[in-house]
């Protein structure tokens, strides 16, 4: 029924756009698929369907003060690592928006974020298999200059159904600098919001809160060369599967300060989150129906081997700090050379919160105390240098400590901490107006606390090489190999060869790759998912219009 209605809406939208030429249609289309080959030497999981294909199409129609949109999705079945509950096809996202000077009204599906997301952040990230859009009503108002008010109500997407929980919320933001000259040219704003989630208590063991309330307060100060940002959130007791039915309240605090001047940038961040996991259904686990988001406190690395031990924010609780210093050596100086050199030094350290169990349901925790357990530490330096107009390099060195048991094993004592050092050298040389060659060499040295008893595919030293030829403006050809030559189990010292070809024209990109993909963890903004090893042919086509 819903499919039929959605199809009709889509057809109507397209018909309107063709009949009334003043309207405008925009959108995008992405499809990706993989043909999986069994490869016992890298530990692939059995995949009886052999081929996985998933795709989606967004169509938006804009006319005067209105916007209508619809998204079609199909997972037949989803790619390995994406939750199998996505296997289906249909129209999970349909909305209509009216915009005026005073207010915007959206009915249908929408995404919303309050502040940094400590009590509410809904978003879509296909790489993670995350889509927690809300289905309901949203009103945004601008009653006065520098004042923004938002009210929302809705349920959250749960694969192909909606959450049992209903989310109600409101937030307001005031730009104080627009009301008084007291702050001079500086930007000062205050922001606050509330959320209440209703979910019926259908079980018979616990006395559960059916209305869970949370709020946040934030203030920002931006001057010419520095900025300060503070945000606090609070959530009443919210026993759930993720917090092991704890009746503690939740609290989150983010503090960040940064200073920028010519060539120099310094930023310092602190955060503490305690029991702030907030879901549209209390039984949800994994990356399912998360209502909020704790911004990551460590640097989000992008190089291949840095994704072996990436840190994901621990939703149950963590406390930590990060600092980053960037300095650009000017052109003409000894270090700067002819084209300048940029050096970035970054350090982050994240530990458990200090907590003492009171009974099976509650614990106490000293707010600013660091717990005993180190979750993650990362010290890294990156030096970017352009040697000539056509030649630039990027060298990085990272030294990390990663508690694999906390991050991947549910705190079970299996591996302990992994200490790794990673060296990266990346060079790009433009051969001509058309041709450019990129080389990326990486090496990772790793050791861990425990002696490994069970063979796995990610331990010990790795090396990686990638070569990419760009033929402007259309073609990209690359080959790469990752080699776990230091695996403690000789049988698992495997090469992961991969070849890739991409063609880009206008807003369309087509890519095809063939080879082995090691098991690992994909993270986007501190939210991570596990990807099993695979071998086979991968393709993707995307286009925007």
């Amino acid at each position: 029924m819903i499919k039929t209605i959605s199809s009709i809406i889509l057809i109507v939208l397209i018909s309107i756009s063709s009949v009334y030429s003043q309207g405008r249609v925009t959108g995008n289309f992405v499809t990706e698929g993989q043909y999986y080959l069994q490869d016992s030497s890298i530990g692939t999981t059995e995949f009886p369907k052999q081929v996985a294909v998933q795709g989606f199409l967004n169509v938006r129609y804009h006319i005067d003060d209105f916007e209508f949109g619809i998204r079609y999705e199909a997972y037949r079945p989803p790619l390995l690592g994406i939750d199998f509950r996505f296997e289906n096809s249909g129209f999970p996202f349909i909305y209509g928006t009216y915009r005026s000077e005073l207010l915007d009204v959206t009915a249908g599906n929408f995404y919303e974020q309050f502040g940094s997301g400590l009590i509410l952040r809904t978003y879509e990230e296909k790489a993670l298999g995350v889509d927690n859009s809300l289905n309901g009503v949203r009103i945004n108002m601008r009653p006065d200059d520098g004042v923004e008010l938002t009210g929302i109500m809705g349920t959250m997407r749960n694969f192909w159904t909606q959450s049992d929980g209903i989310i109600r919320g409101a937030k307001g933001k005031v730009y104080l600098d627009q009301y008084t000259d007291f702050f001079g040219d500086n930007g000062v704003s205050v922001e606050g919001g509330i959320i209440s989630k209703y979910e019926e208590d259908q079980e018979n063991t616990y006395n559960l809160p059916e209305n869970v309330f949370a709020y946040f307060l934030r203030s920002s100060f931006i001057a010419n060369s520095f900025s300060l940002d503070a945000e606090y959130s609070y959530k009443i007791n919210d026993p759930s599967a993720v917090n092991n039915f704890s009746y503690n309240t939740g609290q989150g605090l983010l503090l960040s300060g940064s200073y920028f001047t010519d060539g120099l940038g310094i930023s310092v961040d602190f955060h503490r989150s305690d029991n702030m996991d907030f879901r549209a259904e209390r039984s949800a686990t994994g990356n399912v129906m998360n209502m909020n988001f704790i911004p990551p406190l460590s640097k989000q690395h992008t190089y291949r081997l840095t994704s072996l031990y990436p840190y994901a924010t621990q939703l149950v609780g963590e406390i930590g700090m990060q600092t980053e210093i960037t300095y650009k050596f000017d052109q003409g100086t000894t270090i700067g050379g002819e084209h300048g050199t940029t050096v970035t030094l970054n350090y982050s350290r994240i530990q458990s919160i200090d907590s003492n169990k009171v009974d099976d349901f509650t614990y106490t925790s000293d707010f600013f105390a660091f717990g005993d357990r180190l979750f993650y530490q990362d010290l890294n330096i990156e030096i970017s240098k352009r040697w000539t107009e056509d030649f630039k390099t990027n060298a990085s060195f990272l030294t990390q400590i990663y508690d694999k048991d906390v991050a991947e094993n549910g705190w079970a004592p299996i591996i302990g901490k992994v200490t790794s050092n990673i060296a990266i050298f990346d060079a790009t040389y433009r051969l001509s107006e058309t041709y450019a060659l990129k080389m990326d060499l990486e090496h990772l040295w790793a050791s861990q606390d425990s002696v490994l008893k069970t063979a796995d595919f990610v331990n010990g030293n790795w090396m990686m090489a990638l070569f990419e030829l760009t033929i402007s403006p259309h073609y990209y050809i690359s080959i790469s190999d990752e080699y776990n030559y230091g695996n403690k189990f000789v049988d698992h010292r495997v090469h992961y060869f991969m070849g890739s070809f991409a063609y880009v024209t206008g807003g369309t990109r087509m890519q095809m790759s063939y080879g082995r993909q090691r098991s690992g963890i994909i993270c986007v903004g501190g939210v991570c998912r596990f990807v099993p090893a695979s071998n086979g042919l991968y393709f993707t086509v995307s286009t925007t219009f």
Partner: protein, 249 residues
């Protein structure tokens, strides 16, 4: 102005708030009469830090509803069940491993359990917070067959003679398999619990072995008719190394 009032009204909905004070557990429940038995199979492990909490929940459910009504199996599985220290008792079994590989994946987090192998919201493996609700739902169901088991234990050669009578009330299906599992109680072995280790933890309902294979023996191809009676007989030799006390079949 009207719109601002509308927005404020929307905001007011969002201040609903239920702070719960002790007691955190409920006392009264509406339950069925358990004409149909409920099997709670819990994947657990000695190195799983939240498993003692799940064990508390499963034991309290069996205590509240009766151990005859809620039958517990603790399947020690996944790499978390590997003994790490000499004092760790190895409670893994082939049966548990086969069940785990059929119903879970290597990355499935423990503790996790299934109730009568039923799907709930498309998922079979459930966190322990959902067990009670699912057991109560099952308690209202009527059985499709009556099962009766007679046991004779011969101490001299450690064999058990097992006779199972299956009286079909409703028509069965070809997928009806008879599984007979052996569990052991009162095994003392260290168990991780949050940040600590409980050295003298008592493990009950530990799934040790199966008599008729992990996934059982088919009762009748094509399915039995309503009113049909099927009798199955087994002779099972208790493996060496098993203590001859505290077992359930």
């Amino acid at each position: 102005m009207k719109k601002i009032i509308l927005l404020l009204a929307l905001g007011l909905f969002a201040v609903s708030c239920d702070v719960v004070d002790e007691p955190y557990l409920q006392n009264e429940k509406t339950i069925g009469d358990f004409n149909k038995k409920v099997i709670l199979l819990d994947f657990t492990a000695i190195n799983c830090v939240y498993c003692p909490n799940a064990n508390k929940v499963s034991q309290s459910l069996a205590d509240s509803y009766g151990e005859k009504n809620v039958i517990l199996f603790g399947a020690h599985a996944s790499t978390l069940a590997d003994p790490k220290k000499p004092e760790d008792v190895d409670m893994r079994s082939e049966t548990s491993a086969e069940l785990f590989s059929k119903f879970a994946t290597p990355t499935t987090g423990l503790p996790i359990g299934m109730i009568n192998q039923k799907l709930r919201d498309g998922v079979r493996l459930m966190n322990f917070g959902l067990w009670d609700k699912q057991i109560i739902d099952e308690s209202f169901l009527e059985p499709d067959l009556d099962l009766n088991m007679q046991l004779t234990y011969n101490e001299s050669d450690s064999t058990v003679s097992i006779t199972v009578n299956c009286d079909y009330i409703n028509k069965g299906t070809g997928d009806d398999n008879l599984c007979i599992y052996i569990t052991e109680d009162s095994i003392v072995s260290p168990q991780k619990n949050n940040n600590e280790v409980i050295h003298d933890y008592v493990h009950n309902h530990v799934l040790r072995a199966s008599v008729s294979g992990t996934f059982g023996e088919q009762l009748k191809s094509g399915g039995a008719d309503a009113g049909e009676n099927i009798t199955k007989e087994y002779t099972y030799k208790i493996p060496e190394g098993f203590r001859h006390t505290n077992y359930d079949l």
